[in-house]
């Protein structure tokens, strides 16, 4: 149970956005570029100060610069440490938490298996493809077992095929572990594939525009789901709403 109330001032990036995310919910934050969806995410993570409003995780307010160990964050940009191998990258959080080496090795091996990265444990990130790097980034966050997962367009830089592969991996993991996810994207197909709820933001200044339940049955398959009539209907419905915002962005 989380409550977000965010108000902006001066240069208004995000204005009066207020929503709740329930425990175990997969919420996609959808909107045209520049609508402040990443800003919201960064404020939730405590990376950015807010100019007004409140962000609560359970009953606790988010403080800037104070890391909440229950929250995991996956960046849009590649933030792997290039000087660490895949294993060392995934094990980073455990290492600084002081987890013993044998336990770390075991958990890292398990994570590598989950992400389908077997055989690449000792490779350095630059030897991997963009998709594999993002898998490493995902596992680096997930290995710390965060209850809340914040994802900022994590697959935005990937090609369509790799993106679908990543959706599959993420769905498998989420359907098993049911973290609370706040997933920022501007890709409607992606939001529909993954999320159980889509929050639509307007063009700048970002305001809450709409809120859709996405009730496709799970487990979902990212490819065949897109072929269902239900998917198509919801897609065009939201697209209509989203299209207005894209046009407004262009008109600026």
């Amino acid at each position: 149970m989380k409550t977000y109330s965010t108000g902006g001032s001066e240069f208004v990036a995000v204005d009066n956005v207020s929503f709740d995310v329930r425990e175990g919910e997969f919420v996609a934050l959808l909107g045209p570029s520049g609508c402040g969806k990443s800003t919201i995410l960064n404020m939730v993570a405590g990376l950015l100060p807010r100019s007004g409003g409140r962000i609560l995780i359970d009953a606790d307010g988010v403080e800037v610069g104070k890391v909440n160990p229950r929250v995991g964050y996956v960046f849009q940009r590649d933030t792997l440490f290039p000087w660490r191998t895949v294993e060392q990258n995934i094990g980073y959080g455990l290492e600084i938490a002081g987890v013993s080496k044998p336990e770390r090795t075991e958990r890292v091996a398990e994570a590598i298996g989950k992400a389908g990265l077997e055989g690449f444990g000792r490779s350095f990130p630059r030897m991997l493809s963009g998709g594999m790097r993002q898998r490493v980034a995902l596992m680096r966050t997930l290995i710390l077992a965060p209850e809340i997962l914040l994802m900022d367009e994590p697959f935005g830089a990937l090609d369509t095929h790799t993106k679908l592969e990543m959706h599959k991996t993420l769905l498998e993991i989420w359907e098993r572990e049911r973290q609370t996810v706040l997933f920022v994207t501007h890709d409607l197909g992606e939001a529909l594939t993954l999320a159980s709820r889509i929050i639509l933001l307007s063009a700048r200044p970002g305001r809450l525009k709409d809120d859709f339940e996405v009730s496709f049955p799970r487990p979902r398959d990212p490819v065949s789901l897109r072929e269902t009539a239900e998917f198509g209907r919801l897609y065009s419905h939201i697209w209509h709403s989203l299209g207005e915002e894209f046009r407004r962005t262009k008109a600026d």
């Binding site: 890391v67 960046f75 440490f81 290039p82 000087w83 959080g93 938490a97 990130p125 680096r140």
Partner: protein, 283 residues
């Protein structure tokens, strides 16, 4: 490809042989063939010695000429080739190491603190503008004729080079990588150790290779101006006796010392930066 490599090797060896031959016999040949006014002074063995003389001086100075009494020969003089080399190498290494470590430490601290960087910025620029060699007599006055003054000179030369590179490298660290580390629970010190330093290391190493040569220059200049032992001292002594071949021996040894130190830094670099494409171990 292999023919190309063979051609490169061929020319490398050819150039070496040509240089050695001209050096050895060029002066005599040109004296025999050319009018006196056209004989190049630069080839005169009085000034530049010649390979055979240098080799003889090397054997004598290095106590190789009488195998029976090597130990006695080494013990006979205070500043024989062996001790001189060892002393210069040792002082260069310590000066380099201390200079590099303190340069890295200062660079990281100032690179991470905007306040300190602003406070110390003008002083560092002012100090860096002093030609380091101008300080050598002062350093010798303070630290004496022994090893300490040579180490201090090398330190002076190395510190600023490494400092500036580390400073820039620390500033260039990816902010998102730092944010990612923080979000995974790293505190300021852990961020420093696990993100800032490894990330800045590429910049640091870019300065270490020139720095190790600078350290050698610093030590040699220190030995020129005032020393009891060392290769620089050997050169000064040989100069007093107008002995070009002994000077050449010392110069060649310095060349090897320089190569040795550069190789040591390079191998450390290619290990620590093996995550970077240019240092990828060739399969």
């Amino acid at each position: 490809m292999s023919t190309r490599r063979a051609a490169i090797l061929f020319w490398q060896i050819a150039i070496l042989i040509i240089v050695l031959v001209v050096w050895q016999w060029g002066f005599e040949w040109s004296k025999a063939l050319l009018p006196k006014a056209y004989v190049p002074k630069i080839l005169d063995p009085y000034f530049v010695a010649k390979p055979s003389l240098i080799w003889q001086s090397f054997l004598r100075l290095g106590c190789f000429s009488d195998p029976a009494g090597v130990v006695a020969c080494i013990g006979a003089t205070d500043n024989n080739l062996w001790t001189a080399t060892l002393v210069t190498l040792k002082n260069t290494w310590w000066g380099f190491l201390l200079g590099a470590l303190s340069g890295i430490a200062a660079g990281v601290v100032l690179g991470r603190s905007d306040f300190l960087a602003r406070v110390f910025g003008p002083y560092i620029i002012a100090l860096n503008s002093i030609p380091r060699i101008a300080l050598v007599p002062l350093v010798i006055l303070i630290f004496g004729l022994g090893d300490l003054s040579k180490i201090a000179t090398a330190w002076l030369v190395v510190f600023f080079v490494v400092f500036f590179n580390t400073f820039e490298g620390t500033r260039a660290v990816d902010r998102d990588q730092i944010a990612a580390a923080r979000l995974m629970g790293a505190n300021e010190l852990t961020v420093l150790r696990t993100v800032v330093v490894p990330s800045a290391l590429a910049w640091v190493f870019a300065s270490l290779l020139p720095a190790v040569s600078f350290a050698l220059v610093g030590v040699i200049v220190g030995e020129f101006i005032g020393a009891e032992r060392g290769l620089g001292k050997l050169i000064i002594e040989a100069e007093a006796r107008a002995n070009a071949s002994e000077m050449m021996v010392a110069i060649f040894i310095m060349m090897f010392v320089g190569i040795l130190l550069a190789l040591a830094v390079q191998s450390l670099q290619s290990y620590l930066l093996r995550w970077q494409p240019q240092f990828e171990p060739t399969p």
